[in-house]
Amino acid sequence: MDKLPPWADAVLVPLISLLLAAALSALVILGIGENPVEAFRLMVEGALLRSAGWGYTLYYATNFIFTGLAVSVAFHARLFNIGGEGQATLGGLGVAIVCLYLPWPHWTLAMLGASVAAALFGAAWAFIPAYLQAKRGSHIVITTIMFNFIAAALLNYLLVNVMKPAGQQDPATDIFPAATHLPTFQDMFATEANPLFRGAPGNVTFFLAIAACVAIWALIWRTRLGYEIRALGHSESAARYAGISPVKTIVVAMLISGGLAGLMGVNTAMGEAERLVMNATEGAGFIGIAVALMGRNHPVGVFLAAILFGFLYQGGAELALWTNIPRELIVVIQALVILFTGALDNAVRMPLARVFAMRRKPAE
């Protein structure tokens, strides 16, 4: 099997997959009698050409960076953590508890405390499936899926019966105290003359997400722990030979993964809603899988893929707002992107590898 040069693997394959997904989406839009060029223009305009659009795109991207990193860290240990949804839900719970029940003098400290709580709660939620996998061999895909449901039910119960202020109809917590409100991009960058990011939920958590990318890159490729996680992911028998404990490494990798997914709660609960609502994760845990796949489990790739999916989310919302294209179609487009970049990866890669092989041959 001829191999692709690294740049083609990292850039060309996802790009072609994207184009294919876009082409197919265009056909679908044509099929329901709308103009795909117009639709695309609306998406770009709504998500990328105005600063408020960017404010939304980056808000969504922040969620996807956290969940994408979560999936990729676990994946380096060959663990398929699809419990990002549940871990993020618990992360949000941790944020809410810290913000509501502890007094905070300033948002910086509150953000620090909330981040620690979010990561701890997310990690704790990942610990049980991790332990069951490491000690008992219970398949982590199954257990993390089940834990998503348990997390949703738990949040439901807590919001309705425990955390909802008396007399409120809405199953949500009280608004967090003002001192815990995080600065949005608008707070940070807008001036009188130039009202940037108006009304958009993008906030300072985005920079936490970037920091997480850097930290995870260093963890995976520069530390002993990352070395051991990757070694275990490639070969458990070799790890045993070397004296790396599979049980310990699996649990640690999943704790980090769950912690990252939990951090998403800082963005949604603290940065955007400023309270904890039901279903705050909005499927970002699952999008994280696609983001990690498309990003080749590398933080830079995850970052770029997260921006792309942020664009799709925000652009899709714009479409639903301005055209007759139903909201469901946006989901179809997102699904096509996932299908082509994730599941049908080889359908692009193999023909491309052949092309490269043919180009190489006449060269010698």
Binding site: Y227, A231, S235, A238, Y241
Partner: protein
Amino acid sequence: MTDPAPAIELQGISKSFGPVQANKDISLRVMPGTIHGIIGENGAGKSTLMSILYGFYAADKGDIWIKGEKRQIPDSQAAIKAGIGMVFQHFKLVQNFTVLENVILGAEDGGLLRPSLAKARGVLKSLAEEYELSVDPDMQVQHLSVGHQQRVEILKALYRQADILILDEPTGVLTPAEADHLFRILDNLRAEGKTIILITHKLREIMEITDTVSVMRRGEMTATVKTAQTTPEELAELMVGRKVLLRVDKAPAQPKGAALEVRDLRHVDTSGVERLRGVSFDLHAGEVLGIAGVAGNGQSELLEVLGGYADATGSVTLNGSALPLSGAGCDGMARRAAGIGHVPEDRQSEGLIMPYSAWENSVFGYHRDPMWQSGLLMKNAAIREDAAGKMERFDVRPPNPDLAAKNFSGGNQQKIVLAREIERNPDVLLIGQPTRGVDIGAIEFIHQQIVRLRDAGKAILLVSVELDEIFALSDRIGVMFDGRLMGIRDAAAADQRELGLLMAGVGEDEGQDPMAAAEAAERERERREATHG
């Protein structure tokens, strides 16, 4: 009388992959009813040539003639039609199908299986009688020994009426007794007029069974000779392109005190079978203790227990201090810290992380050593530099520390492992199958390194299923059978016959010839597999 047409004739076959020319203008004639050996180092182009013959690759240039007829072989179906069968090094069998089901797979006569199965049963029966190819047709393949699985592959080819059989490194996975049986089968096939091409890098097999032999080196056919008119030394030289020492040059050992004292070692595996049943021995500094035995008699478990990643009871003392045999402090890293290096039997699944670069592998198992840490981070640049030095000293080719382990040949992979373990200067070195799947040039180098380490006063425990290797390197030889150490002999005083008996679990007093003993051992092993499988 004119000669019959050759069974296979290749004319001017060339094939390149990108810049690599795997086959250069190769011509070959194989007469019917002969066994033709093709020998060459890893990467010499043997497998590519056979893949062209079997339709996996198309040749860039050249013609193929089968039984006097010019043929195009675009795929394996065409090869089968032309009467060519291939037995791969890694078998292509469905593990949870029975032997019969595997044999008819892809050669069913119709939509219903029953008639095909009945027919195959009859054919198999007659083949079994004709060629000593007996396998229980109703047994699931996963319960068969490796030797029997290989027979199923041969049966598959014969069932498809192959009269030209290509075997790619067929003895790589076999025990000596199984290999002997395979050669008897091949002998019978030749007697029936079948043509056999045997790809191997073992000179002994070439000398033992082939009629003619072709040597390949760097994609070229460097010679084709009658086996009777050549010597192993000449073939080795043709293969490597220089004179090769087939025997290890070594001075008598200067053994000192016991480095490792092993007493009553017992190990029970996950399925509850006792794999080590009270093994005791002393390993002295400055000697090589060779452990011979048919594969699967506890040698692997002995290495795992001593290497720290399988639990055991009993006692192991290293230079006077006892080592934990289970629980905390019993893992590979602790053993290395204590001074036990380990070159594992399977470098691909244990000794190396195949996608890791050579430099990452160069500290595998030692990566927690403080010398490679600075704060939270690993000193990757220093490791890389150190790896480059190791690779140069151990002649790893290509000497590129950034290349992934999987991209090195078997011999060079083994050198990476050896460099890692030897350069830490361990008091005790455990070595399993040091030259399995390693080409001849590298074997010579690896053997020299082992002897050098011994002469530096280190204790070496060598486990190998290759008796030749055991004899070449060991100062004392122990034989394992059924989880027990059957006795240790001075290498100078030991003879192959006696060891053969011990390998079969037979004491010296019972007169029996080694051949039969080895057969008995194989039967015993199969019986055990059947009961535990």
